[in-house]
Structure formats: structure tokens, C-alpha cells
Amino acid sequence: MEPTRDETIRVLVVDDHEVVRRGLLAFLDGEADIDVVGEARGGAQALDLLASMESEGRRPDVIVMDLQMAPVDGIESTRQVRALYNDVEVVALTSFADEERVHAALQAGASGYVLKDSDADDVAAAVRAAHRGQLQLDAAVARRLMSSLHKPGDDDRISELTSRELDVLRLVAAGEPNKQIATELAISERTARTHVSRILRKLHVSSRTQAAMWAVREGLVDVEHEPH
């Protein structure tokens, strides 16, 4: 693939282990389409960094966030980041396939997760998938996430969505990345992004994964589509 300048994924690495940050920096920087724009030791430092990047107009696209940190863990940090910048995707980095923790991270707004003992290429793949807005969940985690949403039919949040937003939501639920959505609806990628942000706000959910789940449950899309 020939990456152009604006296709480069800007990544912020947040982990309290120096040794892990060094590894991620070396590896991700070696990827042609990924550019590590910053690193932080914890959630608080990450938020400071995001604020200063925001003021310089160079916020990252994806944050790789370790879940096991102190004093503020990665789940809480994800929640804080997503509350302030809901177009910045978070990939959770976790040590074990700890379903509880992964679930909590996804609820906090992470759009994917990687295990700390997976292959290096999986980390890059997860970053790319998050940037594309792709859902990457295994079935068990998806089921839990689904059941944790409110009961169907007891809200009229659907009426708050414009017809354009419903179109976007259907495509999100079908697992389409922003770029694809933009092409299909003949809008710019930036506009697609804005639509997604509004949808998240109106549905009171913190990630596009949850928005997609919600759409599936409300019958906006066929359940045939197996998220992947």
C-alpha cells in the first residue's frame, strides 16, 4: 500500500511500563502508515498531552491504552478520553484475555483490544482496524456488551436521530469504516466522522461498537452480519 500523508494514522501510546512503550514506539514507528505522535505514562499525562495536541490542532487518531495502570487504570482513562474526544479511538492493551476487563474497557468506549502476548503484527492490525472504525470483537465479548445495553424498546432515542444519521448508523452497524461510509453516502470522510460523533452523543453510548450493537438490537440492520 502507498500511504499518503493524510492516511497516516496518528497514534498515542499510553502504558506505565517504560519497556513496553519503547517497544511499541519502535515497532509502530516502523510501520509506514502509522506515526507515533506521543507517549504517556498514565491517564492523567495522556489527557494533558491530548489537550496540548488539541490546541495545536494535531490530535491523534488512535490511542493504544494499557488497562492495568495506577493510580487511574486504563478503563477510567478510556472513559475520560472518550468523554472529551469521542472521535479519538482507543485500543485497549490487556495482559490476559480477562473478559471482565475487556468488557469494561469496551463499555468505557474502547473500540478494540489486543493482548499483551499477541504477535506484534496484531497490534498494528488493531490500530488500523480502530482507525477504520471497524468492530473487532469476539462473540462472547460481543454478547456481553449487547446484554449490558438497556432493554429494547424502552427508549425513544431513535427518534432523535436525523434520517442521515440513521443512514450512517446502519453503515456503522454493518461494520463499515468511516471512509466507506463517506463514499457510500457521497460525503467527505470528515463529515462521516462528525455524524458518528453526533450519533454517539444522541444514543448516550461511548463507542461506535456500542452504537452498532444498539442499532442491531433496535432492528435497524439485519442480524445476519456477524461482527468481526
Binding site: H17, V19, V20, R22, G23, L24, A26, F27, G30, E31, S95, F96, K116, D117, D119, A120, D121, V123
Partner: protein
Amino acid sequence: MLLAAAYYGAAKLGQALRYTASVSAIWPPAGLGIAALYLWGIRWWPGVLLGEIVVNGELLLDDSTFPIGSLLGQQTGNMAEIIVGALLLRRLIGPNAGMDRIEQVGGMLVALGVATAISATAGTISMVAGGVVDESGTAEFWRTWWLADTSGGLVVLPLMLAWAQNPVGAWRRIRTWEGAAMIGGVTALSFLAFSTEEPIRYTVFPALIWAAFRFGPPGATLSIAITAGVAIGETANDVGPFAEQPIDHRTLSTQLYIWVAALTTLFLSGVVSERERASRELAEARRTEGARAEEERRRIARDLHDSVSQALFSTVLHTRTAQKALVQEGGSPSGRVGRSLGAIANLTRSVQSEMRALIFELRRDPVHDGLVAALARHASGLRASDGLTIDVRGPGPRLALPQLVESQLFAIGREALANVQKHAGASAAHVRVEAQQGQVVVEVRDNGRGFNPAAGHPGHFGLDSMRSRTAEIGGRITITSAPGSGTLVRVCVPAGTDRN
């Protein structure tokens, strides 16, 4: 008021055996006052002062020729004695000392000795100045005064301190057949020793030692008080070995008797208490040993995860970076560098999976797969180490037991097997786990040398620990053994239905 009354009462008791008009052979009020101010605070001094004024007022009424200046000097000395004694005691042995440590007995002795020296000095000077005592008798007068206050103090002060700490517990300890027998023994032997003309006062000592060994500081101090009381009473009534002696000699004899009896018993009970405490702590340490080992395993797992696992993940990332860089820079993945990088990647992956398995194992509860399996695993570990054969039998399916019950039963079994291994000299041991009629029974039987379970077994703390574990899970433990016929440890626990 109460303190003043008690002080007065103690003074009356002391005056039963007088040396001269104003000096008693034994002066318990000093110890009482020091103990009261030590226990309840220095601010109680007016009570002591009031008692002192009444005592001296009475003295003045009895004998109006008594120089009032001497009386005032003596009174000042006594007050100083009590306040200094209480302060010094707090300083030396801290608050709430129960006389159950050697340092406390020693500190008490120093505080009492210094404080009474003040009173003895002040008293002697007052009496000499007032002309009550001849100047030539100064040294002897001082000595008598000091010994009177210290021996009175040695009876009252430790008694109050030892009992104040936990009166209910102390009373429970003594309120037994053995306690009654001990008190009867001390009393009878004291009377025997002091009612004959023969100098056999040492006969009381076995009973005092009994008290020190079996009843701790409260029993020891009580028996000192009894024997001192008998000694004073009998001598004052002009009976007993000391009554025969001239007055000053008999005073000294009584004082020294109380000194020796009190010191021997106090130090002995201090040593015994220390040993008891040490063995209790050891039993407790044994009991928590398993829990600490468990905690240690989890800590190691956490550390491994925090350091080694993170570094391995980083190694994976760096290796992959190097592999990609090699290709980008025109190198061949099948060249020497490429093959080496591949080997590093593979090695790292296999270390990662070993580490994962290790951490998983370390985080696991020893009874994670059930009581019987855990006992069997533990037994096979023991078997490997010496000639003992152990067979473990129990139901195949996991018993539904609460986690605490399961881990305590495992620990009891482990301790019983440790006893078999250490003490029994057995060639075979059988462990049986049974679930019957709503209860779970664990039995550990061996064919070793056995022991007498009724005899105290200091050093075999495993027994205490098994008992306390059983109590903790509401079970019953029976230990059946006799010399030469092996040992059976049997624990019954009501079986719960859920495992939580």
C-alpha cells in the same frame, strides 16, 4: 474518697506490725498509692493526700506529744514517694503493664526502690530532727523504713497491676479446681510455716512456684499477698519463727521474707508469661504460615507479570521491528541475521507461553480442584521425601464445601501429615475424606509411635493450630492416640451446600 479509704485501710494493715510508734514493718499504702496513680492518672493524688492526713491525724490524736514538724516532713516524703513512683513506673514500663514481662518486673523494682528511698530519707530526717529517733539509730531507721515501704510495695503494687489489666480473665483463670487448690495450698503452707517455732518458712515456696507456673502474674501476685498477709498477721500475733526474735530483728526477717518470696514469684511468673506468649505467637505464626505462603505465591505472580511479561512483550515488538527493518534495508529474512531474528521471535513466544502457564499456576488456590485432590497432591510430595507411604481416599466428585472450610480442612490435613512425618516415626499413613449425613469427615491415621494426648505437648503446636482451625470452621476434632499404637486425627465439619 474511695482511694483515701483504701489508703487508710492499707495503712491500718501496715500498722498491725509496728517497729516504732510511727514506722511499720510493712507499709502497703506506698504500693497502693503508686499503683493507683499509675493506673488511673497522677491527678488522683488528692485521694492519697487525704488518706495520709487521716492516718497522721490519728497518730497525733493517739500521742499528742508527737512533733508535728516530723509528721509534716514524713507526710511530704510519702507524697513525693507516691508521685515519683507512679511517674517513674510509667516512664520505665509504659502504661498498662501487667507484670508479664521480665523488664516490667525489673522496671517496677527500680521505680519502687527509688521512690521509697525518697520517703525513707525524708522520713528519717524528719524523725531525727523532731527528736523521735536517736541520731545513732539513723542508718537502721532508714533501712527499716525503706524495707517496709518496698516490701509492702512488692505485695500491693504488682497485685494491682497484674489484676487491673484483665480482671475478668484473671478471675476466670483462677476460678477452677486447680486455682482453689493452689490458693488453699499457699494459705495452708503459709500458716504452717508461720505457726510453728521451727524456721521452715521456705515450705511455702513450692506453692508459690506452682502459682507462678500455672496462673501467671495474677495468680502469682495473689499468692504473694496471701503469704505476706499470713506472715505479717502471725508475726504480729507473736507466733511463728520471727516472733521469737527481738523486735528489730523480727521486722527485718519479715521484710526479707516478703522480699524473697515476692521477687522469686514475680520473676518466675514473668518468665513463664514470656514463654507462654512466645509459644502462642509461634502457634499463631504456624497457623498463618499457609496463608502467607499463598500470599507470597500471588506476589511472585504479580511481580513476574509486572516485569518479565512486560519485557517479553517488548521483546516481541522489537524483534518484529528488526525483522521488518532488515527487509526494508534489503536484507534477506533467510540470511543469518534474519534466521537469528526468527529464532529470537520463536524463543520469546515460547517463553511467553511458559510464563503465562507459570503465572496461572502461581495464582491458583492449592485446593482449586477440590480437597481430596489437594490432599493427594500434597501427600505425593511428602512421600517422595522419605520412606513414609501415604494413601489418600475420598469421593471422586468434588465436595460442595465453602472455600474457607475447604482450605482449613486441607490445612488441618497438611498439619496432621506434618506431625506424622516429624514425630510419629510411622511407615504408613492413611488419609480419608468422607461425606456422610450432612457432614464432612477428614481422618488422618498413622501406625507410628503414638503419644498421650492428655499430656501437655509444648512444642507440638500443630495440635493447637489444628484445634483453632477446626474451631474457626465450626467443626469438631478428636485426637486418639496412645504410646505405641499410632495416632488418629479426626475432624468433623457440618457440610454447607454452596461453595462461595
